[in-house]
Amino acid sequence: MRLRLYYPITMLKILKYSFYDLMRSRWSYVYFAFYLLLGVVLLFLNNDLSKAVITLMNVIIVLVPLIGTIFGVMYYYNSQEFTELLLAQPVKRSSIFLGQYLGVALSLSMSLILGLGIPFVFYGLFESSAIWDFSLLLVTGTFLTLIFTALAFNIALTNENKIKGFGYAILLWLFLAVIYDGLFLMTLILFEDYPLDKLSLIGTMLNPIDLSRTLILLKLDISALLGYTGAVFKQFFGTSFGFIISFIMLTIWVVMPVLRIVFKSKKKDF
């Protein structure tokens, strides 16, 4: 018994625990079932992989961040007692929170990939030309899950009050998914007399939802995007440059909030 107590509890162990805990929870199945249903219904109604991919893109860009934030906040508050128990053990704080974060993010990503992947594979994805568009969709979906779960953990760590935490989480989603684009559009129209191509690209980089949208636009709407004359646009969209920069920015968007989780959890009083 004594030996076991000294056996170090690592981040991996906590990750495993969180992951299995979530795998057993009803919500993971609901989430998985939702994507499965979405995929099946879309393919059933459309009979066309490329159109289904376009519809899916709209869904993924809006819903994945929403589910990621809500789920992240919910999981944190629900497992608060267990976290406090863990904190009494000789475990590094960063391991606890990173473990939990990765547990949530990975189980959500898995539901997304399996839920959407299974119907598409059965529908003949591998023989279709849409396979690259579809994989890009899944990769962006996974990135969005990682980003928004991390942001949710940040919100939950800073707010003891559950109601406030949920409120901020929904506000964050609403801001990034809708309001930001509204403000962005207003800015562009307001300053239309000035060269705007750099500004519009920077504006896109600062919002992970816009960033993933652009990444998918690069695949689906490249012919429309090339209609604009700006040289910076042309370099960004016409070459693989845009693709690489977008992925780098998405990675930064994952790393920054995760670093803040580590930093915040070290200082926090429980």
């Binding site: 490329s50 159109k51 376009i54 893109m57 709209n58 860009i61 809006v62 998914a177 809708v178 309001i179 684009d181 509204g182 962005f184 559009l185 562009l188 129209i189 239309e192 705007l196 191509d197 500004l199 519009s200 690209l201 504006g203 896109t204 816009d210 949208r213 652009t214 998918i216 636009l217 689906l220 709407d221 490249i222 012919s223 429309a224 995007l225 090339l226 209609g227 604009y228 004359t229 700006g230 646009f233 042309k234």
Partner: protein, 411 residues
């Protein structure tokens, strides 16, 4: 009876004296094409044997049939025009012509037909050219199955593949034109038929009409050109079953219509173009049975277009279906299939119960501030598009398809 025998004998003798076959080869008495033509009489056939002939300014001034055996090379050594035809009823067949001279003052061509009738130019291969086949003030000819591959990079110092100028009743068929300025160019040329050609990778247009009326082009493919086809200042042009593909860029269209009246556009496919059709100041045009697939803009309508009628077309997954820059609309859309249609069909007659509005508010915004294109497919844009759809303020409120099809159309 006597008369008939005499007549037959006369024809036989006439034939043997007039229609001779003259051979041109390196070791023959006629060692160049020029010598061959000089020694030939009208209606003779000149057979050019395999080899390289360094010649330019070859003038064909009598009705001759010039046939190349195994593609002899006529090398112009960049000195100027290579073959000029100034006689009626000339046939040129099976030559490989290259190295046409470049000039900023004169339009040197690989082969030019001037003031002639009943010419036939076929099975030629043209390379390293300035202008390819230049038909000037000529009628009733045929340009058939030629391959023209240029090296054009800039518009100002390159020529066109096949050019017609003040010519009538010319048939252009089964040609393959690449890397020139305009693949095929018609200026002041009426009643021409352009069929089954493939015009790709050209600097400017795949096919270009200027002040040309009553022409037909069909079953052609235009791919990856600066812009696919430009039809300007022309009347009664028929455009059937052509394919316009991958014409990408800022001023790039599948088809550009400028000041066109009474045209018919039927059964064409527009795929992956920045703009499928760009329409400016064009009236009474019928668009029928066309397929617009995955274009940036399927159709962009700019000012002063009246009575354009779109019936039974497929609009599939375009970023924008129709874009307008004004609030006035005199064009009709009926019985089209729109993949972006979200209505329903409760009475199951195959026609949607709610009209479709093909012009989105966002296309107006993009028209005004082009950089906003980056917000395409954003949720905020969907919301404002939706509110505009419910109560049109900026888009013409009578611009709608009252009978949108539920299923993709097949013909």
């Amino acid at each position: 009876m006597k008369h008939i025998i005499f007549l037959i004998a006369a024809i036989f003798m006439a034939n043997s004296t007039i229609a001779q076959t003259i051979e041109v080869c390196k070791t023959c008495p006629n060692s160049t094409l020029k010598k061959g033509i000089a020694n030939a009489k009208s209606f003779d056939t000149i057979v050019v044997k395999n080899g390289t002939y360094k010649e330019h300014n070859v003038i064909v001034d009598k009705p001759l049939t010039i046939i190349g055996k195994n593609y002899p090379v006529i090398d112009g050594e960049l000195k100027g025009e290579i073959i000029t035809i100034i006689s009626d009823s000339v046939t040129v067949d099976g030559l490989f012509i290259k190295n046409v001279g470049n000039s900023y003052t004169e339009d040197y061509a690989a082969i030019r037909v001037k003031n002639s009738k009943h010419f036939l130019i076929q099975n030629l291969v043209l390379e390293k050219l300035f202008f390819g086949i230049y038909i000037e003030k000529s009628r009733y000819g045929k340009i058939f199955h030629n391959k023209i591959v240029g090296e054009a990079v800039e518009e100002y110092n390159s020529g066109n593949g096949i050019q017609l100028w003040y010519s009538k009743n010319v048939e252009i068929e089964h040609n393959f034109v690449q890397h020139v300025r305009d693949g095929i160019y018609l200026e002041f040329s009426d009643f021409c038929t352009i069929k089954n050609n493939e015009s790709t990778l050209n600097v400017r247009y795949g096919l270009h009409f200027m002040f040309s009326n009553d022409d037909t082009y069909q079953d052609n493919t235009f791919e990856n050109n600066g812009a696919g086809v430009a039809v300007m200042f022309s009347k009664r042009i028929k455009m059937f079953n052509n394919t316009f593909k991958e014409n990408w860029g800022t001023a790039s269209y599948g088809l550009l219509l400028k000041e066109i009246n009474d045209a018919e556009i039927e059964g064409n496919t527009f795929e992956d173009n920045t703009i499928g059709i760009n329409v400016e100041g064009s009236n009474r045009i019928s668009y029928k049975h066309n397929t617009f697939k995955e274009n940036g803009w399927a159709v962009k309508v700019k000012g002063a277009c009246y009575t354009n009628i779109f019936t039974e077309n497929n609009f599939l997954y375009n970023s924008f279906d129709i874009a307008y820059n004004s609030k006035v609309n005199d064009n009709a859309f009926d019985r089209n299939y729109w993949s972006n249609y979200t209505g329903y069909d409760l009475d199951k007659n195959g026609i949607g119960d709610v009209p479709y509005r093909p012009v989105k508010l966002f296309s107006y915004i993009v028209n005004r501030t082009p950089e906003t294109i980056i917000l395409l497919r954003s949720m905020f844009i969907d919301i404002i598009d939706f509110s505009e759809k419910v109560s049109p303020v900026f888009t013409p409120d009578d611009l709608l398809d009252n009978n949108p099809q539920i299923k993709k159309l097949t013909w």
